[in-house]
């Protein structure tokens, strides 16, 4: 099971998209879904990205005519078993949200538990892990974008091939199998067939012919043999508000301990520092 945030760790916002579009798994009985589309989605989902990962991520929120707002966070991911993923996010800047932590544990049966630690409260609080809408720390990412999305939740098909930044991409369309399982009615992803990273994703929220958000990958790199999105921008097409994510440092397979993904570390701001990349 893969999360958006873990995705961030693995390949930055891409993963988000990847997962989103890749939310793969074939629904073979869907007339319009094609085998190639489903296979591509599955390959994206299964793309190697290490047993664990830790990274420093900078989130820059920009709005025309206003100063950007910058958030800096540590992201940790651990694949404990098949289909069981834990992620920990710790904000380290700016000062007014420093120390805020978010722990997500995705179980094997699609059950998710999520806790937040707010330094002002000095308490660990359980939060509703089924939340899809709502903006993550006032960014253009919805909470759904940060969650893992199983392939089976969407029908996938390849609707064409287009060139982006000199790369001929497979254009993958993903539509939720059930209207209520996503805030989006459709996602269209431009997939680099070599790296299996999406170079662009269009998100459709209300109208199937009018995207509301667009994710563009600005830079990708191979880190320890794993293709990783290093820089991406998600734009709200209605108002131009942007969320840019850049990866500062990224380390795969550091053998992160399971203890890192517990409430013990969540409520102890100093406990994860020794695992920072």
């Amino acid at each position: 099971m893969k999360h958006l945030i873990p995705g961030l760790i693995r390949q930055m916002p891409l993963r988000i998209i990847l997962l989103a579009c890749a939310g793969l798994i074939l629904v073979s009985n869907q007339a319009w879904a094609d085998t190639a589309g489903n296979e591509l989605a599955q390959r994206i989902y299964d793309r190697p990205d290490g047993e664990d990962a830790s990274s420093v991520v900078t989130m820059i929120l920009t709005e025309k005519g206003r100063n950007p707002r910058v958030r800096k966070m540590m992201l940790y991911r651990l694949d404990k078993k098949q289909a069981e993923v834990s992620t920990l996010i710790r904000f380290i800047e700016p000062a007014d949200i420093e120390g805020t932590g978010l722990l997500t544990v995705d179980g094997m049966n699609a059950d998710t538990n999520q806790w937040i630690y707010l330094p002002a409260l000095e308490r660990v609080r359980r939060i509703d892990s089924n939340r899809k809408g709502g903006r993550f720390v006032n960014s253009d990412y919805y909470f759904e974008d940060l969650r893992d999305r199983k392939v089976s939740k969407d029908q996938h098909r390849i609707i064409g091939h287009e060139t982006i930044a000199g790369v001929t991409c497979d254009v993958l369309e993903s539509i939720p199998t059930e209207a209520g399982n996503s805030v989006y009615v459709k996602r269209v992803s431009w997939i680099d067939p070599v790296t299996l990273l999406p170079l662009r994703i269009d998100f459709f929220e209300k109208q199937e012919n009018q995207p509301s958000k667009r994710l563009i990958v600005n830079k990708k790199e191979k880190v320890q043999g794993f293709w990783t999105v290093m820089d991406s921008t998600l734009t709200d097409l209605s108002n131009g508000h942007e969320t840019r994510l850049t990866l500062g440092r990224m380390v795969y397979d550091k053998h992160l301990p399971a203890r890192l993904f517990t409430s013990q570390v969540l409520e102890d701001v100093n406990a994860e520092k020794e695992y920072r990349p």
Binding site: I60, R69, A95, D96, L121, R126, T262
Partner: protein
């Protein structure tokens, strides 16, 4: 007070200039490498040799009383700083706060207080933490009224104007925390008792009105007029143990405390009030889970010795129960956050008392960020279910500058004499404020 204002203003200016300079170039226009360098300019700005200095909180609030014929304005200045360091398994924190309260009108006053925040030495093992010194200990799970939260020192200097964390201060404590899988044992001993921080005796937020003969929670008591107050603060604060489990589907906890209440209970005798802090056993249970698109929280406590005063002015303690059920949800899966709590309190006393032997209340807050998170609207409330008791706290905050908040808020009270809303019904306040952290 004057020095505090100047100090706070200078500090604010320095950081405002720094923030403006850092963002003079829109990060959006920079290539990746430059974005990284902009980011790195934030790193370790307050850290020298592993010791980190931090301005934890700066706040200025000022505003007029809307319907008080005698008192004109209320001013609050607050600053808190800390130094933190770590070496191997050891870490330390040194911190302090300065608060200035001012009120104009009749009566008026200015009071500045220096107080400790967290000052401790901590040893950290793989699954164990031991902390000695003044520290924040906030047990419980629910918002606004938390029956299990008895360890911390109450800050009643402005009554209920702040949220729960703002109404709590550090306590001198020795603390052992041990983790075993999903379980945590938290044992706390308070070797030195320190009482709640109370308002100035002339403050509109004082629970005692010795001019008109009123007391919060009791109402009109003519015998209070001109009475003297004596404080009894000595001995230890008690201690307690809390066992919690945080895991799949359900979080829960059990706690046992032998604890002194930090807030004073006023024992009455002719022309004299003695502020006492009685001990009580407190047995608590707590739950937290998510169902039906919401997070649900519950706390319940049994207390062995809740203080009361009979109508013949006799002081005694009786058993009491407290129960709070709360929920948190986001209507329509939007950015709007809603918290609601139903609180019930009952003292098992057979004799008529001056105190309220039971009360039931609905509390909550609606929080709505808008304009890409640059603004936030809050509406916090407490409403009595068994008596007319209303506290409303609307607040509009501009959050468009990182680390700063500028806000306009109101505090509106109404209710019957024994209630919170009734006691402060002539103290409606409009507040303009600024808050920052660096």
């Amino acid at each position: 007070m004057q020095y505090a204002v100047i100090w706070a203003s200078k500090l604010a200016c320095v950081f405002l200039i720094q923030a403006s300079f850092s963002f003079a170039i829109a990060a959006d226009d920079l290539p990746v490498e430059d974005v990284t360098s902009v980011t790195k300019s934030w790193e370790n700005t307050n850290s020298i040799a592993g010791v980190n200095f931090k301005v934890d909180d700066l706040r200025i609030e000022f505003g007029p009383f809307a319907d008080n014929a005698n008192i004109s304005t209320d001013t609050y200045l607050h600053g808190a700083v800390s130094v933190k360091g770590k070496s191997g398994a050891w870490e330390f924190v040194l911190g302090g706060r300065l608060d200035t309260y001012a009120q104009t009108g009749t009566p008026g006053f200015v009071r500045t207080q220096l107080d400790y925040t967290e000052n401790y030495l901590r040893w950290r093992g793989d699954n164990t933490r031991i902390t000695a010194g003044t520290q924040n200990v906030l047990w419980g799970r629910v918002d606004e009224i938390s029956p299990i939260d008895r360890m911390s020192r109450s800050d009643l200097s402005r009554s209920f104007l702040g949220r729960l964390p703002e109404r709590r201060r550090a306590v001198p404590a020795l603390r052992l925390e041990h983790f075993a899988g999903d379980y945590k044992v938290d044992a706390v001993w308070l070797p030195i008792f320190d009482a709640a921080v109370m308002p100035h005796q002339s403050s509109a937020w004082s629970p005692l009105d010795r001019i008109n003969g009123r007391m919060l929670g009791i109402g009109n008591v003519p015998a209070l007029i001109g009475a003297q107050v004596r404080e009894e603060v000595h001995g230890s604060g008690g201690g307690g143990v809390r066992l919690t489990r945080t895991g799949a589907g359900l979080d829960y906890g059990l706690s046992l405390q032998r604890i002194r209440q930090s807030q004073p209970y006023y024992q009455m005798s002719p022309a004299l009030l003695t502020a006492i802090h009685p001990f009580s056993w407190v047995l608590g249970g707590e739950l937290e889970t998510q169902k039906a698109g919401a997070t649900w929280r519950m706390e319940a406590t049994w207390s062995s010795d809740a203080p009361v005063t009979t109508r013949s002015f006799q002081y005694r303690t009786e058993q009491a129960l407290d129960l709070v059920l709360g929920t948190e949800f986001f209507p329509g899966d939007s950015d709007t956050r809603v918290t609601l709590q139903v609180a019930a309190h009952k003292i098992f006393v057979s004799t008529p008392t001056l105190d309220r032997s039971q009360f039931y209340a609905l509390t909550g807050e609606v929080e709505h960020p808008f304009a890409q998170g640059r603004w936030r609207a809050n509406f916090r409330f407490i409403s009595g279910l068994d008596k007319h008791d209303v506290y409303l706290n609307p607040k509009l905050t501009y959050t468009g500058i990182d680390q700063h908040e500028f806000f306009l808020a109101a505090h509106v009270f109404s209710g019957s004499p024994q209630t919170l809303g009734g006691y402060y019904k002539h103290d409606d306040l409009i507040v303009l404020g600024w808050q920052a952290k660096f």
